[in-house]
Amino acid sequence: MNTHVINLNPVAAPHAQTGESVSAVMLKVLLALVPATFYAFWLFGAPSFWLWLITIASAAAGEAACLRMGKREVMPQLRDGSAILTGWLLALSLPPWAPWWIGVVGGLFATTLGKQVFGGIGNNLFNPAMIARIALLVSFPVQMTYWVVPNVAPNLFDGLLITLGHTPIPDAMSSATLLGHAKTDLARGVDLLHTSLPGHAFNWVGARVGSLGETSAWLIAAGGVALIFMRVISWHIPVAMLLALAVPAAIGHHENPARYLDATTHLMSGGAMLGAFFIATDYVTSPNTKWGQLVFGAGCGLLTWVIRTYGGYPEGVAFAVLLMNALTPAIDRLVKPRVYGRTYGGKPISAEKGKRS
């Protein structure tokens, strides 16, 4: 007889498991990002691929360095894929032709100061990818707002030279994102009915100016929906966020189309889709209850609209998510799940049918 059976060790709860490990969840999320990422590579060519690779490698390196410094096991934690996902999401939020050091600084920042200083996976207060994106945006506004027109894909080697900053990018290739263009025109007194959009500003298929994860909004959304069906994420945050962004946008645009962008533009621009499906839904930094998630998502969407419309920066998803991240503990305190066997008010439910004590 096997000795293991005789020496029964008491096993701590939970006894019923889904069999889902962190790495399995991460793998599904990464898979959901693949189509959008490949599309972005096709659109912006090799420089975007190198930037993506550098950013992920830096995020992983930052995580490994911190784990080593804290004298913890490096490989098991690195293999769970969370650092890779952080780097990947960060890369998708960057301008496709940003120089290599943007990826390095951003990747390192995300996993060290955005995650490991809080104690590593599960302990971070803010979404590490978005922390890094904001740090980059505030620190290097020139590089972080340099967008290239799509479909001018250099080959792998030429692309590497661009990413390494060896080949300067010709001015003719730069353009403004739709949100950026609208903000600039409003600032200098040109209303939105008379603005002349640059050629690549908007395109339903996605061949347009923007970050890697901005252009392919449809594929991002498709990946997100797949995640909902795979039950990796629930629908609450994405739906609440997109609705809370679209409704004020639609009302504003209806009242004054010269001042407010329409709902479709808001939904398909910037990081709205990426934010709603992949960033705001981060388990660690979003509330635990369904109602809490609805509040959280609605806050993200509304803040995004407010920042985009009235703020100094043209894009607000990252700021909105970080602000709501800060509110997550408060939301979790206010919106509590019902304790089993008790009412929402905390009173025990009587065993007698239909009667509550």
Partner: protein, 225 residues
């Protein structure tokens, strides 16, 4: 209290910023460059020495019930006197520091030392405490300033000659020529980040020292370990 202990407390053990976490307003607002940090630190040191001496010399007269308003009146007066005399007689320096001097009143560290030290100790000890608390504060502010300036703009001690006189122009160094700068480090978040990292360094040194003192080698347990 032994002078050695007072000095050690001021510079390290009870450091205003790193141990007491006081004076956060100037620590954040005035460390975007090394010269700013140094200037604010020195101005605070001067006020701290004088206010400690003043508080210590009246400590026997002032009763416990009214000590706070009395101390505040003393500190505010000293700061205003420094402000006015700098403006009148060292106007160039005042143009650099003027904005910050009024802020010294709001620095809790001054009242903190009056409360924690000067009202219980003699004038000489209090002066010494003020001097080294101030120098400890200056050292931290200058360090944060150096880090933020090097990372943020690639220079160190720029405009030092404005603060310290033309003899100190040699301090002005460009560390990284042609550096585009990292704006975040000059903006307020840079202050928080640098202070946080500095606190972590102090903690690490203290843990090392404690471990070195104890015979049993035990690695401090991290979460979950």
């Amino acid at each position: 209290m032994k002078a050695r202990e007072i000095i050690r407390n001021g510079l390290w053990d009870q450091n205003v910023v790193l141990a007491q976490i006081l004076g956060m307003c100037p620590t954040m607002a005035l460390t975007s460059s090394a010269s700013n940090g140094l200037g604010m630190g020195l101005a605070t040191t001067a006020v701290l020495v004088v206010s400690n001496m003043a508080v210590s010399s009246v400590r026997k007269v002032v009763t416990e019930q009214v000590r706070i308003p009395v101390f505040i009146a003393i500190i505010a007066t000293i700061v205003t006197l420094v402000d006015m005399s700098l403006n009148a007689w060292m106007h160039e320096l005042y143009k650099v520091l003027g904005l910050y001097i009024a802020l010294i009143v709001a620095n809790c560290a001054i009242l903190g030392r009056a409360e924690a030290f000067a009202c219980k100790n003699g004038v000489v000890d209090s002066a010494l405490d003020g001097l080294f608390m101030g120098l400890g504060f200056t050292a931290v502010l200058t360090t944060i300033g150096i880090v933020r300036e090097v990372v943020g703009s690639g220079t160190v001690f720029s405009q030092a000659s404005l603060l310290l006189g033309p003899h100190f122009a040699f301090l002005e160094t460009t560390v990284i020529p042609g550096y585009g700068g990292t704006l975040m480090m000059i903006l307020p978040p840079g202050g928080f980040l640098t202070l946080g990292l500095l606190l972590a360094v102090k903690k690490r040194i203290e843990i090392r020292q404690r471990n070195a003192g104890v015979a049993v080698v035990s690695v401090p347990s991290h979460c979950g370990a």
